[in-house]
Symmetry: C2
Subunit: 243 residues, 2 copies
DNA sequence: GAGTACGCCGTACAACGTACACTGTTATAG
DNA sequence: CTATAACAGTGTACGTTGTACGGCGTACTC
């Protein structure tokens, strides 16, 4: 049986237990399993990360994967922490907090667009891993100039990162988009019939939002809009409430 | 084969196709399948909503479910729209936009806490259903006094609702919480060893946030904090940018 | 050289969504 | 009145998933 999750997360730390040295040499390691899992997830999404696929990619039998990882759920946690560990951490420099936070948001958006499967992992246990903790530490620094007490500082970071996650989900090409477009010639008129003259506001705003989504200009209006809202919302903290 | 999804969503509309009248009378309907599915989901979560369980609850065979619903994915879309349809829609009255938006947020939080499985449905096709459209219309009204153009009005609502979804996810009792607590006596000291003196900021803020989470006072500091941030962020729109 | 810890593997099981072929029932067409 | 077509419902079966269990062979320790 592999080591507990906490030790697998910190497997590269000098104090991490190594286990005995007997028996045949391992042909794969937890690290190489993770490398393969990340490749698979980036290519085929989380659903493509099955234990069997993983084992085939590694050239071992299905059950051998469980020698290096306790369960698929644990694997996902390890993957998230690995992605966080590899994330580039740009020094904050002398920029003001607004630029800092903006860069944190953009870096997280880039991370999720590079690894869209991050949106599909709901397990929070990666918070115990070296990558996630380092990321947390670095991003907390961005909020320094806001002068918040600790609980608010954590809440502010959560606020920013939750916005990024939601926006990234909206920006992600929906798997159903193709199916929707396919059925639209049939469904569109039918929906118009059902709606009739009801909900004129929803119809007007929905149409405008739909057009803007596929239209020219910025790839996502909602991202710019939301990010400015986030920054202005935090701004109200340091400028002593609303005027 | 059942009707296409768009017609199932609008099954209660007068213009909805009813299908022929031949054959034995249906012992269950799309509506009763949904009722059972909602009960199951509220009780056991989305994972408890299996076609077999559903059929057993309804007293029919497994495959009979597919007479009234095209697929499990479609079922989830119908469930979401049904939940949106049954949501109470409080008139906005004469309240200012801040109170209106606050109430929209609180109503959505209540909705998700009543039906936590809503967080697990990622399919956006419910946007075509009567419940989701009525909800959209009603919530857009809350933003009237902000004087936004249509695309911004949609973006603002998305901004609010995304915040609610993320907060609701954080407030939801994590399925892993029990397991974490169980392993904590073993993992806590180990984590302390690994961390050593690194990341003092993350350790301090993380500890404060962790304490606040289980501590006395408001059930969630992050909710109050974030909601005020959301409102202040929107406020900056109407007060003409930051001072 | 004996014992043991360990990597690896084959088989097997329960659960899932659902395709398919079928039976039986009922309203309609001739 | 009968033949037909449309429909609700069922049983079986397939492919896929995660993973428990027991066995086999290897390499280190005594």
């Amino acid at each position: 049986m592999p080591l507990p999750l906490i030790d697998l997360l910190w497997r590269d730390h000098p104090d991490a237990p190594t286990g005995g040295r007997r028996g045949p040499r391992a042909r794969v390691t937890t690290g190489s399993v993770l490398d393969a899992a990340l490749r698979l997830a980036d290519a085929d999404g989380l659903a493509g990360v099955t234990v069997r696929h993983l084992a085939a990619d590694l050239g071992v039998s299905t059950m051998s994967v469980y020698t290096h990882v306790n369960s698929r759920d644990d694997l996902l946690v390890l993957m998230v922490d690995a992605a966080h560990l590899r994330m580039e951490r740009i020094p904050h420099g002398r920029a003001g907090w607004r630029s800092r936070v903006r860069r944190v948001a953009e870096a997280n958006l880039a991370l999720i667009q590079q690894h869209p499967w991050l949106l599909d992992v709901v397990d929070d246990r990666s918070a115990l891993g070296p990558g996630t903790i380092a990321k947390y530490d670095h991003e907390l620094e961005a909020l320094e100039a806001l002068g918040l007490e600790d609980t608010d500082r954590d809440a502010a970071l959560t606020f920013v990162l939750d916005f990024v996650r939601a926006s990234a989900r909206a920006l992600r090409p929906q798997p159903r988009a193709g199916e929707m477009a396919e059925h639209w010639p049939e469904w569109g008129p039918r929906l118009a019939t059902y709606l009739g003259d009801d909900h004129p506001l929803a119809r007007r705003v929905g149409a405008a939002a739909g057009e803007a989504l596929g239209g020219p200009g910025s790839p996502s209006h909602a991202w710019d809009f939301g990010l400015t809202r986030v920054l202005d919302g935090l701004d109200a903290l340091s400028s002593g409430g609303r005027p």
